[in-house]
Amino acid sequence: MLSIQQLSKQFESQMAVNQLSFEVGKGQVFGLLGRNGAGKSTTIKMILGLVKPSGGEITWNGVPIEQANVRIGYLPEERGLYTKSKVGDMLTYFGKLEGMGTKEVGTAIDYWLNRLEIPEYKTKLVADLSKGNQQKIQLIATLLHDPELVILDEPFSGLDPVNSQVFAIIIEEEIAKGKTVIMSSHRMDMVEAFVEEVTLLKQGNAMVSGSLQAIKDSYQTRNLILGASAPVTEHFKQQGIDFSIDKQNVLVKVADDSVGLNVLNGLAKAGIRVPEFKLLQPTLEEIFIERVG
């Protein structure tokens, strides 16, 4: 288990991370979210040992975390690859640095290149690959040595929808294998599909922290979504109900489920037929925007 307690980092007068605490167990995914400069990367770099904390502690299975006592797989936000090297040579180098033998690393490289459907790139220079394919190589470098702790900083950056889906499947597989995963991303829709626990950071402070479901439950606001075919806009204007038109739907933000049902009752009484509607919890993105801004 990864445990972070009262973690802080101060750069001169600026507090980059302030008293941050969270725990991530085996097979769990933790979402570290926030705008640029919120303290996500600093937190990740402290976990990796790249930046020395000003205070607090980071432990893995109860002992202070260090290279020797945990296999970490790190996918940086920007590509961290030797662009003048051949893909196979560079991955072999990374694998061996993690203690893998020649045969073991060779087998793992072939497995992952085939898994991501790019075996032909093994002998190519990294610089000759597209941004998306470089991201795939970066993911292989992250998972090659079967890490216990996987840290993914903006894993979907530069990927097209198809490759995003491929990445999402691989990440799900790693979670299923019992890996401890920390994920930082601006893609709230993608993160929401994986994370169980989340922290929303703002200027180094945890604005919201805890189970994603509990956070959503704690938000009373619900989204009442009515299909486009419902002729409701005139009724809402007459009743003074705020609404917005989102794509082809009409969206009404309501305080809770009962208020939503009251709105639907009002429509029924007015004789307006509503063929379809949804009463949903707020999305992670909505919570993010509201709390982090």
Binding site: F11, E12, T42, K45, L48, G49, L50, V51, K52, Q67, I72, Y74, P76, E78, R79, G80, L81, Y82, T83, K84, S85, D89, Y93, F94, K96, L97, E98, A141
Partner: protein, 402 residues
Amino acid sequence: MRKFGLVFWFHFKESITGKKALISGLVLFVISLGFFGATHWFSQQEGEQYLMAVVQDSGAFVVDLNTLNSVSPDIGFEALGLEEARQSLESGEVDTVFVIEGEEIPTLKTLSERGSHSTAEFIVTQELSHQYLARVMEQEDISPELLQSLLSPVAVTHETFENMEEFFLNFAISWVVGMALYMVVATSGTMIGTSVMNEKASRVMEVMISKVRPTTIMYAKILSNLASVMVTSLMLYVGYLAASVLGWADMEQLAFFGGAVDFASVDPMIWVLAVAYFILGYLVYGMFFAMAGALCTKVEDYQSVAAPITISLMIPFFAMMWGLTDGIFGSIATYIPLFSPFITFSRFADGTAGYTEVGITLVLLLISILLIGKLATKIYTGGVMHYSEKASFKDIRKLLKG
């Protein structure tokens, strides 16, 4: 140690198989082969005979051409009339025309395009002097013994406090070591700096530092560059081997400032110190270049940051080359870690510095390498949170604080 080996081997392999190394190796091969080829060609040219014309305009003094031609196989003399000799000179058939004149005392006039052939002129004047002396002896009735006594040269003997042969040898070795260190640092220093800078700019350092200690990365990178330059330099030897196969190589043509050098007779302690100063000198400069790379993310910024290091390399090198290792400069430079691999070693080789200076400077070099290595590593590691183009002094202070 395993990780050091892995990092060393990866960077060594990358640099030795890179285009830059392949082109450098090819250039060194061509230079080596070209040198021996040119030397061989010139030595063959030297075998050709230079032709001289002799115009005998004196009735009293007539030189014997057979005598002149027997002196040197490289120089031939033939008797010609003045006009014919002039035409031969203009057409380039002869190098110099010697016109012998005078009836009482012989005089020699030379005609040439850019100056007379000095050896040929010496041969002709010697022959004329002999004839003149024989005539005077006969006229004045001087015995050969008296003449020999009159012409006896003043005996001069040279005595020096130093063994000049040893002095020359030690000067040669300090020159060779200094030149090798300068060339290797000048070549690989930029490679080290830009390699560190590229790792930082491409963010691969973030991945690397989480796998390997930064100090290991630094030392492995610096030493792999040294190994790569050494292997590339082997192409000079391959060039020599190729020249040997072609029959061009003649090691006797190799000379140091005109003199032959027998490196086998060098004091073993000089060799030990040569290796020690070379490796420590390389490491101290390598660390400085690595630190310069860790401060930048763009090549143009790196060049300005690395410029003072390059100047610090040139000062002791040229001071050593020009023999400016004595006096106050030499005494101070002896103890400056960046200068001592050139100055102190040179002074030890020529006998003006002793084991005390050597011991102190080697310790200072070791301390400097460890200290600069620590600073470079700290700046390199601190760089994961600092991606601005070039670090200011304020930034450096921040990086060192961590």
